[in-house]
Structure formats: structure tokens, C-alpha cells
Amino acid sequence: MTIARFRTILCAAAAVVALAGLADATYLTVQALTGETLLCGGSPDCFRVLGSPYARIGGIPMAAFGVLAYFSVFSFATFAAFGYARAQTFLALAVGGMFLVTLWLLYLQAFVLHAYCRYCLFSAAVTFLLAGLVIAIPSSQESSEA
């Protein structure tokens, strides 16, 4: 298998994984907009996380930023899979930023809120998987050298 082919497969895989994150973030955004996260009824731990002040930035649900982030990652990964060299740089930057934000959110859940929301954990897993894929993607320079 050529490096270029391997890169295409990994970028396509990153796009598919980003779709899972996009679905999760969309669901959480809708929950926040309908006010479901302001009520007790479902999982108490999820309420503690999603109903906490950290779940919104300037009144906007954190999950909405997640939608934008995952959609960006999906777009960059798709373009990178089609050989757009600059898209791969943007993909690495976006996933790097999301990785840092995910670490911060995990810290909040573990040490500040003392509660974990399974949707947030799923999102963290998706981001970690994306980070792994992005690290594994060979740079476009490598493929041109090959």
C-alpha cells in the first residue's frame, strides 16, 4: 500500500469518526435548547454535568461549539482524503485544540463536578480516537517523497 493511499484511508476514517462526534454533539445541543438539561428526570450525573454553569459559554451550550468543531474536523478530514494538503494542517490544528478542550472538560467532570456524563465521555473518546488517527496520518511531504 502506498503512503498516499494509507493517508487517504486514515483521513476517511477520521471523517467517519468525526460524524459520530457530530451526532453526539447535535443531540446534546438539542437537549440544551429544549431545556431538558435544566430538569431532573434522566441520569442525575448527566444533569450535574449538563446543567452546570460549565455547560454554557456566554449562554451558548458548550455542545453547540462541539457541533462546529466536529463539523470542521469532518470537513478538513474529507478534503484531506481528497488530497488537499492544507486541509491536513487544519485537521491537525482542529483536533489538537479539541484534544486540549477535552482534557479540560474531563478535569471538570472528575475534580470539580464529581460526575460523569456518558455523552461527554463518548465525545472525549471520539476526540482521543481522532487525535490517534491524526498522529498516524503521514504528512503530505512523506507521500511526495515516497
Binding site: 460524524l19 457530530l22 447535535t26 443531540y27 445541543t29 438539542v30 437537549q31 435548547l33 429544549t34 431545556g35 431538558e36 435544566l38 430538569l39 431532573c40 428526570g41 434522566g42 441520569s43 442525575p44 444533569f47 450535574r48 446543567g51 457541533v67 463539523f71 469532518f74 470537513s75 474529507t78 478534503f79 482524503a81 481528497f82 488537499y84
Partner: protein
């Protein structure tokens, strides 16, 4: 064609996300509940069967279905207390027990509040439970804590312990919960203002005040519908 393919894929995913998000939003829009006429609370006749603050003949009734272990119920309780004073004598606030099954100590707290109520101290216990929610909701043995709370508000502790396990307290909690279930209540806090549910996104100080003002205005137009 291959040149445009990534644009087409990204565009399709953007449209799919927006459409599915909009559909989910529509599906999740809360269906606001209404208390039917045969289940409306009448003034003084029902006073002995419920816990309320304010004027029993007030033109506006706010009925809350709450759970002592629910953080949003705690957040709203201080505000509701403030509202009772602010709108006195035009507002009556009723509290109904609706302990959720996924809250470990909620039912015990409801029973303890009812036991306090049997000694005429329901609201003192109600306020104390919300104030101390962080402490007791994480405790393993709440009974000892509840006994100490009973002492703090001046209850006869022996009687309190007896009442908390007695049939009367259970009946009151069950009766509140059955009422809530029959009305379609599923989460807490659920608020009704003059028999109409306040939507989750309207459960802000401004939203609740606006709903009370609207109900006051409506009751002024039709005073017989108190």
C-alpha cells in the same frame, strides 16, 4: 467531478445535520401540560391535604412538583420563597412531593418532610433540605442526618422518627406522586401556574414572573375562575 466531490459530501453532511437537528428539536419540544378541571385545586377545601405558602384564596396558584434531591429544585426554591412574599396576598405556592426513582434519598427526604409536617414544620424542613442538599444527598446514612435536622427545627425527634416510617407520611407522598403521574409529570421541578405548565426554558425568574403576571391579569378579567 472528483474535484467537487468533497464539497458535495461536506454540503450533504451540513444539510443532514441541520435537518436531523431540527427534527430532533421538534420531537423533543416539551408538550406543556394542563391540569384538567376535575383535578384543579380548590381554595380552602383542599388546604389540609397539601402544603402551601401564601393566601389560600389567592387568584394565582403556583403548584410545584419537586424532589428534595434535585439540584434545579433547590435552585428554584429560594426564588419561589421570594415570590411568595413579593406577590402576597395574590399568590399561593403549593409544594407536591415527586421524588424521582433515580435519586437515592429523595423518597426518604419526602417522608421526613411529611413527618415534620405532622408536627407543623413542613416548610422549615423543606427549606432545610434544600439548603443542606449537597451534604445529605451524598451521605450514606441519611437517617441520622435527618434526625439531627429534626432537632435543629425543634421537632420531637421520637415522634418524628415514628411518623417518618408511618403510613400517614407514605400516603401523603404517594398521593402527591400519583397526582403528578396522572397529570403527566415526568421530571422535576415541574411548575403549574393556574393549571398551566411553565415550559422548561421559561423557568427563569423573568419567565415565572411573566407567567404569574399574565395569570393575574387573566384572573382579573375572569375573577370567577380563581
Amino acid at each position: 467531478m472528483k474535484r467537487f466531490l468533497p464539497f458535495i459530501i461536506v454540503g450533504l453532511v451540513a444539510v443532514a445535520t441541520l435537518v436531523s437537528g431540527a427534527m430532533l428539536y421538534r420531537a423533543k419540544q416539551p408538550h406543556l401540560l394542563t391540569i384538567p378541571h376535575d383535578k384543579e385545586v380548590s381554595g380552602k377545601s383542599d388546604a389540609a391535604l397539601m402544603h402551601f405558602r401564601g393566601n389560600p384564596d389567592a387568584p394565582v396558584t403556583l403548584e410545584e412538583f419537586g424532589d428534595f434531591e434535585c439540584p434545579p429544585c433547590r435552585n428554584i426554591s429560594t426564588f419561589l420563597d421570594q415570590l411568595a412574599k413579593e406577590y402576597d396576598p395574590r399568590l399561593r405556592i403549593i409544594f407536591r412531593n415527586f421524588p424521582l426513582a433515580n435519586h437515592k434519598h429523595a423518597r426518604n427526604a419526602a417522608l421526613a418532610a411529611e413527618a415534620a409536617g405532622l408536627q407543623g414544620r413542613f416548610w422549615e424542613m423543606h427549606d432545610l433540605f434544600y439548603r443542606e442538599q449537597e451534604a445529605w444527598s451524598k451521605a450514606d446514612d441519611v437517617d441520622k442526618l435527618f434526625d439531627s435536622y429534626a432537632g435543629m427545627i425543634g421537632l420531637d425527634i421520637g415522634q418524628f422518627k415514628k411518623d417518618a416510617g408511618a403510613e400517614k407520611a407514605k400516603q401523603r407522598v404517594d398521593s402527591d406522586q400519583e397526582r403528578g403521574t396522572s397529570l403527566g409529570v415526568k421530571s422535576t421541578p415541574t411548575l403549574f401556574i393556574n393549571n398551566r405548565e411553565v415550559g422548561p426554558t421559561e423557568r427563569t425568574p423573568e419567565g415565572i414572573r411573566a407567567a404569574i403576571d399574565a395569570a393575574l391579569k387573566a384572573s382579573g378579567a375572569k375573577p370567577e375562575k380563581q
